[in-house]
């Protein structure tokens, strides 16, 4: 019985070892996957943040958000020139953040400069147009700009 058990144990160890070996060498031993036979698809250079594996908001985007908070308060207080100056700074820290353009449009609208307000509303639309949260705000803003 003991001999049988020993033989079985040895067989199990050998089998396990073989499996482990085939797993380790698998990448080399197995035939390449089907897709690998197809030519690799080259990509145009990545121009977004994925190019450097960045994830989450950039430090600039966070700083931009903080500036925007200040600016929104200033707009509410009617201090429009100061708000515009801060938002311009926020824009350069996060050029693709459409909310900054929305508030720039808002500040210019309140200052009565329709042309600038519209230009910034269009930029906001470019970045926020897909967002259901912003769609109606942008539309309302556009309407307000058109009929001051």
């Amino acid at each position: 019985m003991t001999r049988i058990r020993t033989v079985l144990l040895l067989a199990a160890v050998t089998l396990l070892g073989a499996c482990t070996q085939s797993y380790v060498e698998g990448q080399l031993a197995w035939p390449p996957p089907e897709t690998a036979q197809a030519p690799a698809t080259a990509k145009p250079p990545l121009m977004d943040n994925a190019a450097r594996g960045a994830s989450g908001p950039s430090p600039g985007a966070t700083a931009s958000l903080n500036l925007r908070r200040q600016a929104v308060g200033l707009i509410a207080d009617g201090r429009l020139e100061e708000a515009i100056r801060i938002l311009e700074r926020a824009v350069n820290l996060a050029p693709s953040d459409g909310v900054n353009y929305y508030y720039l449009a808002e500040a210019w609208r309140r200052k009565g400069n329709t042309a600038r307000a519209l230009e910034f509303n269009r930029l906001a639309q470019l970045y926020l147009g897909d967002s259901p949260d912003w769609r109606s705000s942008l539309k309302n803003q556009r309407r307000a700009i058109a009929s001051p």
């Binding site: 897709t35 197809a38 030519p39 698809t41 080259a42 990509k43 145009p44 250079p45 990545l46 121009m47 977004d48 943040n49 994925a50 190019a51 450097r52 960045a54 950039s58 430090p59 600039g60 985007a61 966070t62 700083a63 931009s64 903080n66 500036l67 020139e81 100061e82 515009i84 100056r85 801060i86 311009e88 700074r89 824009v91 350069n92 820290l93 996060a94 050029p95 693709s96 600038r116 230009e119 269009r122 930029l123 470019l126 970045y127 147009g129 897909d130």
Partner: protein
């Protein structure tokens, strides 16, 4: 008997004559005083001083996660007049650096857009990044702003600098220190102090020479304003008359205020420091209102001989003189002996002498040009305006250093260039806002003031191509294929045969490849097929003011452009097709703080955001695999779009590159149009790389975001048509305008995809196509 009446009559006549003479003298004096009064009123009731307008840089923003350049930041603090100390900063204007911890005691920040009181803040740095910012209580701050740096003064011919102060704002001890040492009976005399005069007379007689003037503060003012410096009795008499007249016209405080703003406090280089306001700023780096007792006494002591008692030039003499003033204050009973002793024991702390030299001289000339439409040179040198600009002195320093190093490097490599007037220009701007952060218009302003960044007309060579490609996107796609073979074109009866920079190249190139390789032949083919009139029409939208003609050579940048206009035009690619107006002035404020002018970000749409993205993507290939691939090898791993440019005979070398945050243009060439023997990638690109590496604080690390209207398809890299899965040997993804997508499958490798086989857009095929977002 008759002699007596005759004598009496003679005596009467003499008396009458004398009285008449006296009366005439009094009348003449009164008349003269009247004349003086008119003169004095004209002088004092109008503008009393010519105050140079001052130019300020932009404020500096710091935030956690930001990349910074420690050396440039240290230079920035020094430029702002901060003094490095080896203890925790105790007063505003000091900073301490302990490893990665920078402890700052920031000064008050006051601009038209914001106001922040002086405060302590600690910057925690690791490597070249800001890890966190905390206030004095250790609370985290999301942002920190350094005050704007004064970079230039618009001087008039007298080169006087003064900062006006009101007597109500001045500390009592400053006024008393001045009175104690200069004119202690100021509030009791009428412009002339007989006791002071008598004392001066005695002293002069004792020494047998003029040692003391015995002048009151009013007399000193009269002398400064209306008289020449020679010491004669006649002049002294006029000085007294003017002083007496002034005292009749103005009250004591008004006279004292004029005096305190007028007096000379020495020189800073070629510039005269006048008034206690400017002296407080120059010697102690603070407003006069905040001068301590010992500092006030130092300034009061300087009035007699500013250069002899200058705390910069002769700190020991200045200290001794300060203590003389303190003792005089004690004698008058205006200061307790205890306070005087404490003040006298204080060491002489100064702000650190900083010359009023011109920083960023080419930027300043450009700025002056912008201001010329608003103010005359006379107004700029006298109205005391504060002009806030977009200048970033850290970027400016990086640009100047990089250009200087780059040109020296080039001369080292090509020794024949030495002495041939090798020049360069750099423009750094924010593509979104149009803010010009830095401008270098030449190698050495002292030798040549010609601003090549704004005034030079140079052929742009291949840096012009992207605008031609932008026009071509109205008819073609980045996958469209063009002939890259020698072709003859006839222009106004003459034959023109363009050539490629490298003679050997593929006979056909896709648009993306043609731009990446900067292929001339394929570009001209594309321009001609697009329509040269259409190319010119599109290019004009980018704001070029120089003449452009619909010739095939236009495609290769044969028509001259101005570097600043070229930089601005590229900004549209970086900013969703929006062309920003170049901004150098932000605000102009008068002496009282009233905002007179403001300039804001102004943009106009010149191409669609989708088209701008396609251009950025193709210009990304220039860096990834084209003529600017050298950038990758020197460690630029973030998204950059760029274009090199070299004109015929190596006359101009260009490099224009941008991220979403920053755009830098570099030009290298010679004013005489001679060859520099190097390409854009060899001469201009290394300068660009040096600048980009140094100005991390202006590159917050954003990527380009794909706007709506752009889709991706897999194409055959040889035919530029849709790839046939499994047949095309080198498929690749390409970006397209959604309304201009290829529909034809590759005819080189077998036409349409096999029936039922995987299509170009279907997932699960050999090609995985990311869907348009």
């Amino acid at each position: 008997m008759k002699a007596k009446p005759r004598a009496a009559s003679r005596g009467r006549r003499w008396m009458l004559g004398s009285a008449a003479l006296l009366l005439a003298a009094v009348l003449a004096t009164a008349l003269y005083c009247g004349y003086l009064a008119i003169h004095i009123k004209a002088r004092f009731d109008g503008r009393r001083w010519r105050i140079p307008s001052q130019v300020y840089s932009d404020t500096t923003l710091l935030y956690p996660g930001q990349r910074i350049n420690r050396r440039l930041l240290r230079d920035k603090l020094s430029g702002l007049g901060y003094r490095r100390v080896d203890h925790r900063p105790r007063r505003s204007g000091e900073f301490q650096q302990v490893g990665g911890q920078w402890r700052l005691f920031l000064r008050e920040l006051k601009t038209p857009a914001e106001h922040r009181a002086a405060m302590r803040a600690d910057l925690h740095l690791r490597g070249n990044r800001v890890v966190s910012i905390t206030d004095a209580a250790g609370r985290a701050l999301p942002l920190l702003e350094l005050e704007p740096e004064r970079v230039m003064l618009f001087f008039g011919p007298r080169r006087e600098q003064r900062l006006l102060v009101s007597i109500d704002q001045l500390p009592d001890h400053l006024v008393k220190a001045v009175l104690a040492i200069e004119d202690s009976r100021f509030y009791t005399h009428h412009g002339v102090d007989p006791r002071g005069l008598a004392r001066a007379l005695l002293a002069n007689l004792r020494h047998g020479a003029v040692r003391q003037g015995g002048s009151t503060i009013t007399q000193q003012l009269a002398k400064n304003y209306f008289l020449t410096p020679e010491r004669t009795l006649g002049r002294k008499f006029r000085e007294m008359l003017i002083a007496l007249t002034m005292e009749r016209l103005y009250d004591k405080n008004e006279i004292l205020e004029i005096y305190l703003n007028e007096i000379y406090f020495g020189r800073n280089g070629s510039v005269s420091v006048n008034g206690v306001g400017e002296a407080a700023r120059y010697y102690f780096g603070k407003p006069a209102a905040k001068l301590s007792l010992d500092e006030s006494a130092t300034l009061a002591g300087m009035i007699r001989a500013p250069n002899i008692y200058s705390p910069y030039l002769h700190p020991d003499r200045a200290r001794r003189r300060r203590n003389v003033v303190l003792r005089a204050m004690v004698r008058k009973g205006w200061l307790s002996p205890d306070r005087a002793r404490r003040a006298a024991s204080r060491p002489m702390h100064t702000a650190g002498s900083k010359r009023y030299h011109r920083k960023a001289p080419y930027f300043m000339d450009y700025l002056a040009g912008q201001l010329a439409d608003l103010y005359s040179p006379e107004a700029l040198s006298s109205l005391g305006l504060s002009i806030y600009t977009t200048l970033d002195t850290q970027v400016q320093a990086a640009a100047e250093e990089a250009l200087s190093r780059g040109l020296a490097r080039l001369e080292q490599r090509h020794p024949r260039l030495k002495g041939k007037g090798l020049q360069g220009a750099v423009i750094v701007m924010q593509p979104r806002t149009g803010s010009v952060l830095a401008m270098v218009g030449g190698r050495d302003y002292r030798r040549s003031q010609f601003n090549r960044a704004t005034r030079a007309l140079r052929q742009p060579g291949s840096t012009f191509k992207p605008f031609v490609y932008a026009a071509a996107l109205d008819r073609f796609t980045p996958a469209s294929v063009f002939a890259n073979t020698p072709t003859a074109y006839t222009v106004e009866g003459k034959t023109w045969r363009p050539r490629n920079f490298h003679a050997h190249g593929p006979p056909r190139l896709r648009m993306r490849e043609a731009l990446a390789r900067s292929a001339n032949l394929a570009t001209v083919d594309m321009a001609v097929k697009t329509g040269l009139e259409h190319v010119v029409e599109t290019v004009r939208k980018f704001g070029f003011s120089t003449p452009l003609k619909p010739y095939p050579s236009l495609a290769l940048g044969a028509f001259e452009v101005i570097p600043l206009e070229l930089a601005r035009a590229y900004s549209a690619f970086a900013a969703d097709g929006r062309l920003a107006f170049p901004l150098s002035v932000k605000e102009i404020v008068d002496e009282r703080g009233k905002v007179l002018k403001q300039r804001y970000m102004t943009v106009e749409t010149v191409i669609s955001a989708a088209k701008a993205y396609l251009m950025t993507s193709m210009l990304g290939s220039v860096v990834a695999e084209g003529t600017a691939r050298g950038l990758r090898s020197v460690g630029f791993d973030f998204p950059v779009a760029a274009k090199t440019g070299t004109t015929n005979g190596y006359r101009d070398a260009w490099f224009v590159g941008y991220t979403p945050d920053i755009l830098i243009l570099v030009w290298v060439g010679r004013d005489d149009g001679g060859s520099i023997g190097a390409t854009g990638a060899q001469a201009a690109m290394p300068i660009w790389a040096d600048i980009a590496r140094a100005i991390g604080h202006q590159m917050p690390g954003n990527g380009f975001r794909r706007p709506p209207g752009v889709v991706t398809r897999v194409i055959c890299s040889q035919s530029g048509q849709l790839a046939v899965p499994g047949r095309c040997p080198r498929p690749m993804e390409e970006v397209f305008l959604e309304n201009r997508v290829p529909t034809q499958y590759c005819t080189l490798h077998g036409g349409p995809p096999p029936a039922g086989g995987p299509g170009n857009k279907r997932r699960g095929s050999g090609f995985i196509t990311p869907e348009m977002k």
